[in-house]
């Protein structure tokens, strides 16, 4: 039987505020444990939470960017459960009246576009961090993260393959980073993903029993965890058994998901409105103001790149997935008017050297310097191949292309007389090959080009070499 998968994702994104959501403690990552805490986030009696305006603004920003409706009035609720990373015994979250609802974003997989609906985006506080590895008998608790602002973005179950799930996550991350509300760092946990997945016979209307895979924290693992879980569920159904509704974890070493077998009671969070917090009322003016300050988002920018610069959709997609890279590209275009050439260079050389798109701001090869290098190729000073070497040198030293070319004496030989002289020598040294070429083995042209290049240490202008060789060999 053929099966189809139904996937919904819950993404938690840490908001880039300076202070926590309900108190003034710092949110900085990597501080000494329990050094960024206060009576509010430690859950001491008698304290009251006060909402961080920036956190609310960022949440609205994200919701607007993902086409959500903002509720004029929303409310915080307590989600009650006991766990050592949760000092108060409840997490302040939103339940019945979330900040925003009914959004969507568009993904593209294998050339097909699809809209994934977003059920809701709400605000909540993060829990602390637990460390189990330091001691045999104790679990360590660091509450620096407790109270850091999060948004939870819940998709509708519109995703039907692991590829789509990854594509959705990438788009989500890209938007959050574009609008500057989240740094998107999955390693540090700024972006975390839980996946709900079920399978059913293709074409069936009924939903299968779903499992939830918790905390899969890289694009690769999301793909692998979902692939495994879908295979597993199909195997369970094929063997005539039933999928058990449960929470599972992904073991990235073995590439499998396994049941958490939690002794917790079935989810019974006893949500109720938090009496310590008043309703959040958002006026239309504020939403408008936030809308007006949104930057051009990835999809719009991609379309513009295709139309304005005439580059292929594939290129535009890669260039616009990071705001910084897109900025870099546009800056280059200002100094050098061949967008496709720039795009090729960015997608290969630049992105390879970058090691993380966020590093482009401090990249030694600035747009202006890259433009200068490309102009040297255009005016025949160096060949495209040499340009790549010069580029690598620029990355290391930060020097200008012209300096490197002068310093190393790698200026291209475009002097026809000199190339003629070298070509004569090559022809003289290889009489056999010349005879074979003239007898019709024109493939040998490559051999001659290689010889000339060898003789000039790659500095001969390839176009001239080809031209002169052809002319001389056919005489």
């Amino acid at each position: 039987m053929e099966y189809e998968a139904i996937i919904g994702l819950e993404v938690h994104a840490q908001l880039l505020t300076e202070s926590k959501i309900f108190c003034s403690c710092s949110t900085k990552f990597g501080a000494r444990p329990n050094s960024q805490v206060c009576p509010v986030c430690l859950g001491m009696p008698g304290v009251l939470p006060v909402l961080n305006k920036k956190a609310l603004e960022y949440a609205i920003r994200a919701a607007v960017a993902m086409n959500c409706e903002i509720s004029p009035r929303s409310r915080f609720a307590r989600k009650n459960y006991f766990y050592p990373d949760l000092p108060k015994g409840y997490q302040i979250s939103q339940y019945e009246e979330p900040l925003s609802k009914n959004g969507w974003l568009e993904i593209e997989t294998n050339g097909t576009r699809k809209r994934i609906r977003i059920r809701r985006i709400h605000l909540e506080e993060d829990a602390g961090k637990l460390i189990h590895e330091y001691s045999r008998d104790w679990s360590y608790v660091d509450l620096n993260r407790a109270g850091v602002p999060l948004i939870e973005i819940v998709s509708e179950p519109d995703i039907s393959s692991p590829e789509e799930a990854v594509s959705y996550l990438k788009k989500l991350r890209s938007i959050l980073m574009y609008i500057g509300v989240c740094d998107g760092n999955m390693e540090e946990g700024s972006l975390r993903c839980d996946a709900n997945v079920s399978v059913r016979p293709r074409g069936s209307r009924e939903l299968g029993t779903k499992t939830e895979i918790k905390n899969v924290n890289s694009f690769k693992f999301v793909q692998k965890a979902l692939e495994y879980e879908i295979r597993r569920q199909i195997a369970v159904l094929e063997s005539g058994e039933k999928v058990v509704q449960e929470t599972r974890l992904f073991d990235s070493n073995r590439g499998v998901t396994f049941s958490m077998r939690s002794k917790e009671e079935a989810h019974d969070y006893r949500y109720f409105p938090d009496p310590d917090l008043l309703p959040v009322v958002i006026d239309e003016e504020w939403i408008k103001e936030i809308k007006n300050t949104l930057p051009e988002l990835p999809d719009a920018r991609k379309e513009r790149f295709i139309n304005q610069y005439g580059i292929p959709s594939y290129d535009a997609d890669i260039l616009t997935s990071s705001r910084e890279v897109a900025d870099y590209f546009e800056e280059c275009v200002k100094h050098y008017s061949k967008p496709k050439t720039i795009s090729n260079w960015i997608m290969t050389e630049v992105l390879r050297e970058l090691k993380g798109e966020e590093n482009i701001k401090n990249f030694p090869v600035t747009p202006e310097k890259l433009a200068e290098l490309l102009k040297l190729v255009d005016n025949g000073t160096i060949s495209g191949k040499i340009a790549k070497e010069v580029f690598s040198e620029m990355v290391v030293t930060g020097k200008r292309a012209t300096h490197i070319v002068e310093e190393k004496g790698i200026r291209q030989i475009s002097d026809e007389a000199e190339i003629e002289r070298i070509v004569s020598q090559v022809i003289e040294n290889n009489p056999n090959e010349v005879a074979r070429y003239r007898a019709g083995q024109e493939k040998l042209l490559g051999f001659f080009v290689g010889e000339v290049m060898k003789a000039t240490k790659g500095k001969a202008n390839p176009r001239l070499v080809n031209e002169i060789l052809r002319k001389r060999l056919s005489q």
């Binding site: 300076e18 202070s19 003034s24 206060c38 430690l42 305006k53 509450l143 019974d268 309703p279 959040v280």
Partner: protein
């Protein structure tokens, strides 16, 4: 809604509470009475009334996003029954 002993045990479990047989009987009876008292509200037709979560019609005040330090690590851990290397330490609760 009728409060059964099972309900009380369930809630106790969620709240990590323990009590003896005698207390269980007592709480079941007491909780039942409290709910019965509140049941009285059901005599009113509230179909067109918005639930009241706060008696005052005000919205939440907002705080500017400014960092302030409150406690040192030492102060934060002062009341902890057990601490190790700057962490609160709790009996290990995860099976390997």
């Amino acid at each position: 809604m009728k409060i059964t002993r099972e309900t009380v045990l369930h809630v106790a479990e969620l709240g990590r509470l323990e009590f003896n047989q005698e207390e269980l009987e007592k709480f079941t009876e007491q909780l039942g009475r409290i709910l019965q008292y509140v049941e009285k509200l059901n005599e009113l037709d509230t179909r067109d009334v918005e639930p009241t979560f706060h008696v005052l019609d005000v919205s939440t005040p907002l705080r500017e996003d400014v960092v302030e330090s409150w406690l040192t690590q030492d102060e934060a851990l002062e009341n902890a029954p057990h601490r190790e290397e700057g962490f609160f330490a709790v009996p290990k609760f995860i099976e390997d």
